[in-house]
């Protein structure tokens, strides 16, 4: 047990060192680092979305609105109150907490309303938030906020991602985590075995929105600007796709979903608007052939990786053997 913790700490330090090297030494092209940064931020975002849409099983479309709240509130803090890189954690935290507040408020609507009707309420929430920031002169209207200090770096994203993973992991294994799984499977039955549905839903929405708010704070400090157009239809769709691609109710699935989708989007950038045609087709194909996403609702473990690696090796080995056999025959 002790050695495991030590190992994890060592891994964490190694990760920090790698991030530090990537940030400061300029060994890797900055456009590649940007992609990695995006993957990290989206992983936090998808973890947040997954808590409600995956673990709790509520089809929510509020993530765009909550991301906007996180982004705008943290940007305002670092533009007007604490303008220094050392107080950047405060900005991130404010973004996360504001998102959390909004999410907990939204959770109250899920007590009575459910299913597609709740989806409409959360969609309405997202569109209302977008409309508010679009019409509010103080935050720049549809031009958006700029310049936001550019504080986000790989190392910050890495630390936030690790914290997010630990939070979600602890949450899922806690009493609340088991309760929301019960609510997902059958909310009437869970109520009957004295699960406090309201409290658990509020906590789940709170954690989810906290993470989404943090991702919003990170992304606006990375791009140095933010505008209402970034929190519309595309953000809602992106969030859903990444969650269902990776696997609902899975931490590793969230990260894999974010990684695969982000790399795909970047790789298809060269073909212009055609990438959305291909992206849409991939969404349909994934749903048909992997209806539970890449990971399903379980975690990818080291054993899975080992098994996968062994399978690849075996296939490759047999291929090699067949090849050498074939060439051997030809030689004769």
């Amino acid at each position: 047990m002790k050695s495991k913790i030590l190992k994890n700490i060592l891994l964490f330090l190694a990760g920090l060192a790698v991030c530090f090297i990537c940030d400061n030494l300029g060994l890797i092209k900055s456009s590649y680092i940007l992609v990695v940064e995006y993957i990290g931020i989206y992983s936090i975002f998808v973890l947040g979305v997954n808590v409600v849409n995956g673990y709790l099983g509520i089809f929510s479309l509020a993530h765009a609105g909550i991301m906007a709240i996180g982004a705008y509130s943290s940007a305002l803090v670092s533009m007007y109150v604490f303008d220094s890189i050392f107080t950047f954690p405060i900005s991130i935290l404010v973004g996360g907490l504001m998102g959390m507040l909004a999410g907990m408020l939204l959770a109250t609507s899920s007590f009575k309303v459910s299913g597609d009707y709740l989806a409409i309420i959360t969609l309405g929430f997202s569109l209302i938030i977008k409309s508010i920031v679009q019409n509010w002169g103080f935050v720049g209207g549809s031009r958006g906020l700029r310049p936001i200090p550019k504080y986000t770096s790989l190392i910050v994203i890495f630390v936030c991602l690790i914290i997010a993973i630990i939070l979600v992991n602890k949450f899922v294994k806690s009493k609340y985590g088991r309760s929301i799984l019960a609510i997902r499977d059958n909310h009437v039955a869970s109520e009957l075995v004295s699960v406090d549905n309201k409290k658990c839903k509020t906590v789940a929405f709170g954690l989810s929105s906290f993470l989404i708010g943090i991702s919003g704070a990170l992304v606006c400090h990375l791009l140095a600007y933010t505008n209402p157009a970034s929190y519309g239809y595309t953000t809602i769709v992106d969030g859903l796709v990444m969650v269902y691609l990776g696997g609902i109710g899975s931490i590793t699935g969230s990260i894999i979903g974010a990684t695969v989708w982000e790399i795909l989007v970047q790789a298809l950038r060269g073909i212009g608007t055609w990438r959305w045609v291909i992206g849409g087709a991939i969404m349909v194909l994934v749903m048909i052939f992997l209806p539970k996403g890449i990971c399903g609702n379980r975690e990818l473990t080291w054993n899975d990786m080992k098994r996968l690696w062994a399978a690849i090796k075996e296939k490759f080995g047999s291929l090699k053997a067949a090849k050498s056999k074939a060439s051997g025959k030809e030689g004769k």
């Binding site: 969609l123 019409n135 239809y233 796709v241 608007t273 045609v277 849409g280 969404m283 349909v284 209806p291």
Partner: protein, 300 residues
């Protein structure tokens, strides 16, 4: 008085279009049990089909009404075919999958249709040729375009026709039977697969009719129009109680009322969306299954 009549007419015009779209959305939901986020894109495609057919024929012949009806029929046929194929490819394999995966699949279909159209027809907005000649008519002191009355009348006609179809014909009864209980219906010799295809065809036809009427009132459109239509028809359908046709009509008119009246009352017209969605959220919080929706008692 004249302002009132004017507003009422605008409201009825927009409302009848929304109602048609919401019916299409609702009928697919009721029978196939899926939220079809490609509905707006079907609407968009039918606008384009109608645009290409009518602009070729209209400039060649100069006939207006006949071309309008002909291009409407062509767009109904093509969009029905499209919806049929989409259902077979993207939704049918997911009949047993969790509900959300069908939603994601439909979002994917929507993206494919939207950006295929964008790549083939261009991103710039198009203007439908003015085929329905409009004469101003004076009612109660207000001047109203005759096309407004035509839109309302045609939309009502199709709504009544659809409701008669659902109530009186054997096929309509079979459709309702599948909506009520798919398994029991299949015991009675009704094929759910056929009925689901039929629901998609009806939904697409309603979208095509809605698009043709929409183009008379608002002739300018672009490939992105489907996104908004999606949200509006989904919203209207849910507001009235999703899966219920009467509810879809009610939701359509209510949504139009909010959309038309809110900018008149509010000082800033850009707050329209906020008010529309605030009304929606309040309605759902008070009546969680939509205005006409029935409360379903859940059993463990």
């Amino acid at each position: 008085m004249s302002v009132f009549v004017q507003t009422l007419m605008n409201l009825l015009q927009l409302g009848s279009i929304y109602a048609l779209l919401a019916i299409g959305f609702s009928i697919v939901y009721g029978i196939a049990g899926l939220v079809n986020f490609a509905h707006g894109e079907i609407f968009m495609v039918s606008s384009y089909v109608m645009f290409f057919v009518s602009s070729v024929l209209y400039t060649a012949t100069g006939v207006d009404w006949l071309v309008y009806v002909f291009s409407l029929v062509v767009s109904i046929v093509i969009t029905s075919l499209l919806a049929f194929v989409v259902e077979k490819i993207a939704y049918k394999p997911l009949r047993k999958a969790p509900k959300v995966s069908v939603v994601v699949s439909s979002v994917g279909v929507g993206l494919v249709l939207e950006y295929l159209t964008l790549n083939f027809a261009g991103a710039e907005s198009k203007k439908m040729p003015a085929m329905v000649t409009s004469v101003p008519i004076t009612i109660g002191g207000a001047t109203i375009a005759s096309s407004t009355l035509i839109i309302i009348a045609v939309a009502l006609l199709f709504m009544i026709a659809l409701s008669l179809f659902m109530q009186k014909t054997k096929m309509g009864i079979a459709l309702r039977a599948v909506a009520q209980d798919e398994k029991a219906a299949s015991f009675m010799g009704i094929s759910p697969d056929v009925m689901i295809s039929l629901a998609f065809i009806i939904g697409a036809s309603m979208a095509a009719i809605g698009a043709s009427l929409y183009s008379v009132a608002y002739p300018i459109f672009d490939p992105y129009i489907g996104d908004n239509i999606n949200w509006w028809s989904f919203t209207a359908a849910v507001l009235g109680g999703i899966g219920i046709m009467k509810g879809a009509v009610l939701g359509g008119f209510l949504l139009a009322a909010v959309n038309i009246i809110a900018p008149m009352v509010l000082p800033v017209s850009s707050y329209r969306d906020i008010v529309a969605f605030a009304v929606l959220i309040i309605v759902l919080l008070i009546k969680p299954t939509g205005l006409l929706g029935k409360k379903v008692i859940e059993k463990v």
